[in-house]
Symmetry: C2
Subunit: 229 residues, 2 copies
DNA sequence: ATGCAGTGTATTGTATACAATTTGGCGTTC
DNA sequence: GAACGCCAAATTGTATACAATACACTGCAT
């Protein structure tokens, strides 16, 4: 490649992937405007390709597109945040159960690697990467369950969860639930579907309770809150 | 409008909607090729808009896009067909339960109207329209449950179900489950969530058992089946 | 006949040009 | 000084031109 401009050229899929990872790792904050010209310069492609990528992300609710106003990283409302976790509560426990029946040794190895890397990232202070690995753990379980459709739903929900966490996570919950994943891994290794299902259910409940979903997001405090302080 | 060519002009959303309805009503059969130039002529817009519409439909798995080979109406495999109904079984019963708690008189009226219209369409011999109304009944219940995220999932699954039915429905099952919807409506009217949940679970089981998911789809019969008749 | 290479057409992929719309700033007026 | 209207810059929406690819068909050799 002779020109730095298109050092990162790619299809709309790869560009959507890069953006999704950046969002997942909290390097692109909710609300960030995504201007077509800028993005196309960065990746060295035309706006056409970028538009396709943005539309895909919009369909996954990772970005919001308003007609004639462009795209920005989505800012889920409290209501959406609750819905995302309610949907996860509906899908993931049963999926973990199915996964327990089909899991192979290489699956277990991969899951274990996720946990190790997540731990390493945490110690290295790379919170974004730790967060993404934590999400990948859930996605990996869905993949093991071998149900493409549900896998797709969970992938989308995990990505959106990352946005929810960016907006509503209260840092005083420091534990960051790494042993929850450990326990899940053990249940899977034991092929104990019922146990995996219960653990997943509890884990998701822990996750929501580590969020502050009782008031408006930091940036969008209600008028009342602002005026009557 | 002075020109018939763009009598149906619209945005990519409306075009995707038109295509989706046509697919839902089995006026576009699985496998039908969707050529950008043709579609753009029909709706009087440029290929740009049509491409966006097709990509949206592809994301919903109603059409398949292969690079450099274009888009065609999706042909779900048996595996996908099973997955779609497994996902529905995971989501819809609980959703029906939630709907029972929130349903309003006007919701009930609308549901009832769906049933009536479905019946009328059946008697008029318009099977496609009946099928779409039947799907709308399920979607309406999800809407009543007031969970946008799950509503979106169910909408997508119902649309895909229509493709599955086009491919795998065995006509000898004539009943077409109209009283199942009646029973559901009664349970909702009674605000009996548990009953609604059970009915929905059973209804979905009836649906899958009216399909023939044990062999290859009609068009793709295995070589063995063809040769050893 | 069968298989294969080459060629032309049909179709999709991408970039770019232009139109439409929004946004922010500037000056005017009250 | 605040409100309003207007203009310029930035940005998105759509169409179109051109490049790249796949597909069907013909003719040829075996």
């Amino acid at each position: 490649m002779d020109d730095a401009a298109h050092a990162l050229a790619g299809t709309s899929e790869t560009i959507a992937g890069r953006l999704a990872i950046a969002i997942h790792e909290h390097r692109l904050a909710p609300g960030t405007k995504l201007i077509e010209d800028e993005v196309s310069d960065i990746f060295g492609v035309s706006r056409t390709v970028v538009r396709a990528a943005l539309q895909k992300l919009a369909h996954d609710r990772l970005v919001t597109i308003q007609r004639n106003r462009g795209a920005s990283v989505a800012e889920p409302t409290i209501r959406e945040a609750r819905e995302v976790f309610e949907a996860r509560a509906l899908l993931e426990p049963r999926t973990a159960n199915s996964a327990a029946m089909r899991v192979t040794p290489s699956d277990l190895a991969r899951l274990n690697q996720h946990i190790v890397e997540e731990h390493a990232a945490l110690h290295a202070g790379d919170l974004g990467r730790a967060l993404r690995l934590s999400g990948l753990f859930h996605i990996e379980i869905a993949r093991i369950a071998d149900q493409d459709t549900i896998y797709g739903f969970i992938t989308q929900l995990v990505a959106r969860s990352s946005l929810v966490i960016a907006l509503y996570w209260q840092r005083r919950t420091a534990l960051c639930e790494s042993h929850a994943h450990h326990a899940l891994l053990r249940a899977l290794a034991d092929r104990d579907g019922a146990q995996a299902e219960d653990l997943m259910k509890g884990h998701l409940l822990d996750l929501v309770s580590s969020l502050d979903l009782r008031q408006k997001p930091p940036g969008q405090k209600s008028l009342r809150d602002v005026l009557l302080t």
